[in-house]
Assembly symmetry: C2
Homo-oligomer: 345 residues x 2
DNA sequence: GTTCTTTATGCAATCGTATGCGGTAATTCG
DNA sequence: CGAATTACCGCATACGATTGCATAAAGAAC
């Protein structure tokens, strides 16, 4: 039964337009897609077709074009968690660039988990897209290989060491910034016991920042004391938990370095709740410079990353590849970080 | 020329699987889509097919299914701005429900603008999706009519008065909450000059909340003084601007009601910058209860909405329609608000 | 042994669009 | 006036998966 007449969906197709304009469906296609240098179209015909398009309110069905092997006009973006403010400017920047190119954006969360990242890869294979932007913490070259060989999509990745002729990489120089900020804490501010709130080493960014932190300690000939290292999960609550551990030590640290702002804010909250004065009793420094860093009191000293800039870079690199404006080996773009000194140190 | 061998994209299709398993392509389809009650498949055949699928790493191409008139396994969601923390839990909730159903989510920003909302409608017509979730501020029934008649998508809308047999509506009871909170400010807290930071009346939510505010004033027999009404654009900065205007009055208000938390936070910031003590010199109350409301000092008193709950409601209603578990007239769901008293009043 | 089910599989049409190729009419040229 | 261009346009097919219908083989009933 060919769908009862009461059904509301009546898709207007090219054939309908063709019928109304008294031309063939292929002519409609040619008028609309306007191939330069292709078969020319008569003025009269073109006019009739455009009139019919207008009258029927025809919109091309993008799925059909995708199937035919054309562009899908979609890109997919994977981030850890849309709830984390750090990603918002990044997502927004990507969306803006994409929409300027008339592209839609599918957004997926990995929740910082390996399975989440793998699920994303699979979904991209099932639903081909023209481009993929990823902020992975776990997946490396081998895993991306699958994606690369199974899809024609352009690929841009943030923050992973990946060298592949078909993927561009955008890097925040977070390790260098981490080293410099730690050194600043030690040299300029005189801190010699610094608590570190990190994450498990599975996270490449976590491992990288911790290494840079350790490097700075060594450089300053400071001892590495295990009790000053706590593991969080990027969330406000985990920052609070970590600082409570620190405060229960016989000699609490005089400063705390959290590898993201959410944990730093949690640390401040929890410390203040115990009557600790910041920065006098304990200094707190974060990483990211999310907008909320200036909302808390004292305002958070932090290492600024520029997620909007990262997003823009990634999206533009991606579209250069999608539009074939760039073909060639994988590129590397660096987005710098900057120490932003406020009141919490 | 049939694409040179150097090209990286080698899509594995059902035909490849069929060839390998020595069956027809339609048999592969039947094995994979596993129609219950349909034509049965021999054990041996099924095994061969599944082996071939495994060996080739086959994934079905979702675009093809969409074209054939099946589901697209995509929903589209329109919000005002992904940068606004209020939407994050909502987006997240929608994504979670969608992913549980193996659906992808396309997210678009309207930027609070009518054109943005219209652009979204068009994009949904061009790329059919199974469901649409909208948080419109401008579009009403007539505009949605176009969407409804041109697409088979299920539709759920937040916060607009729309009565249509095919769309469900989720409502925050923001008008009632606004009235009650204002009354509380007046009766319990004794404020008689309350500054109101709203938005232009084009926003239905803005108009609704302002009406509720005015209603509360009238109920309390308070005068309506134009100088106590400022127009913002939902952003932190606009809240700051508004409060500076208030402070320049000969008789500044003793309390400020902002219709969202971002503007309230901006108001607090700007007031504090001018040495105004909150809540003693001036009370501030917001709307939404974004997580950051507890990060600022003093902690923000505000009317809590429950965006995660809203998102969940919308998504579940949507999928009930998509899966045809519900067919019937448009439903209305209410999500209540609640006054959260903290330190800023 | 013939006819009728039942079971399992293949064939081919279909969705909406893009495009190579071939065909027709109008135009130009010799 | 006949032939060669040129300008336009339609036919047919491809894209990948779903699905109604036909069909072949096997089994059951007579």
């Amino acid at each position: 039964m060919p769908r009862s007449g009461s059904s509301p969906k009546k898709t207007v197709t090219m054939r309908d337009v063709a019928r109304m304009a008294n031309v063939s469906q292929s002519t409609v296609s040619r008028v609309l897609s306007g191939v330069e240098g292709g078969i020319p179209i008569g003025e009269e015909t073109r006019r009739r077709v455009l009139e019919a398009v207008e009258a029927l309110g025809y919109y091309p069905n993008l799925h059909a074009g995708s199937l035919r092997g054309q562009k899908t006009f979609m890109i997919a973006m994977m981030i850890a968690d849309i709830g984390n403010p750090f990603y918002h400017p990044m997502v927004r920047a990507v969306q803006d660039v994409a929409h300027a190119h008339r592209y839609d954006v599918i957004i997926a969360n990995s929740d910082h988990m390996r399975e989440g990242e793998e699920r994303f890869l699979e979904s991209v294979i099932r639903r081909p897209v023209d481009g993929v932007i990823m902020v992975p913490y776990h997946l490396g070259e081998e895993e991306l290989e699958l994606l690369i060989e199974r899809t024609g999509a352009a690929i841009v990745v943030l923050g992973q060491q990946i060298r592949h002729p078909r993927v561009d990489v955008v890097f925040g120089q977070d390790d260098r910034a981490m080293f410099e900020a730690t050194t600043w804490l030690i040299q300029e501010k005189g801190h010699r016991r610094i608590g570190f709130i990190g994450v498990t080493e599975e996270f490449s960014a976590g491992a990288r920042r911790k290494a840079a932190f350790l490097h700075a300690l060594q450089q300053a000939h400071l001892p590495i004391e295990p009790e000053l290292f706590e593991i969080g999960d990027w969330s406000v609550e985990s920052g609070a938990r970590a600082v409570r551990k620190f405060l229960s030590l016989t000699r609490p640290p005089t400063a705390v370095f959290a590898i993201n702002d959410l944990m730093a804010i949690g640390a401040m909250e929890a410390a203040q709740a115990q009557g600790v004065h910041i920065p006098d009793d304990m200094a707190v420094i974060g990483f990211d410079d999310i907008p909320q860093a200036t909302w808390v009191r004292p305002r958070l000293t932090t290492v600024a990353q520029y997620p909007a800039e990262m997003g823009r870079q990634m999206a533009e690199a991606l579209f250069e590849r999608i539009q074939k404006e760039y073909v060639g080996p994988g590129r590397r773009f660096e987005v710098s970080c900057r120490l932003v000194i406020r009141e919490s140190v």
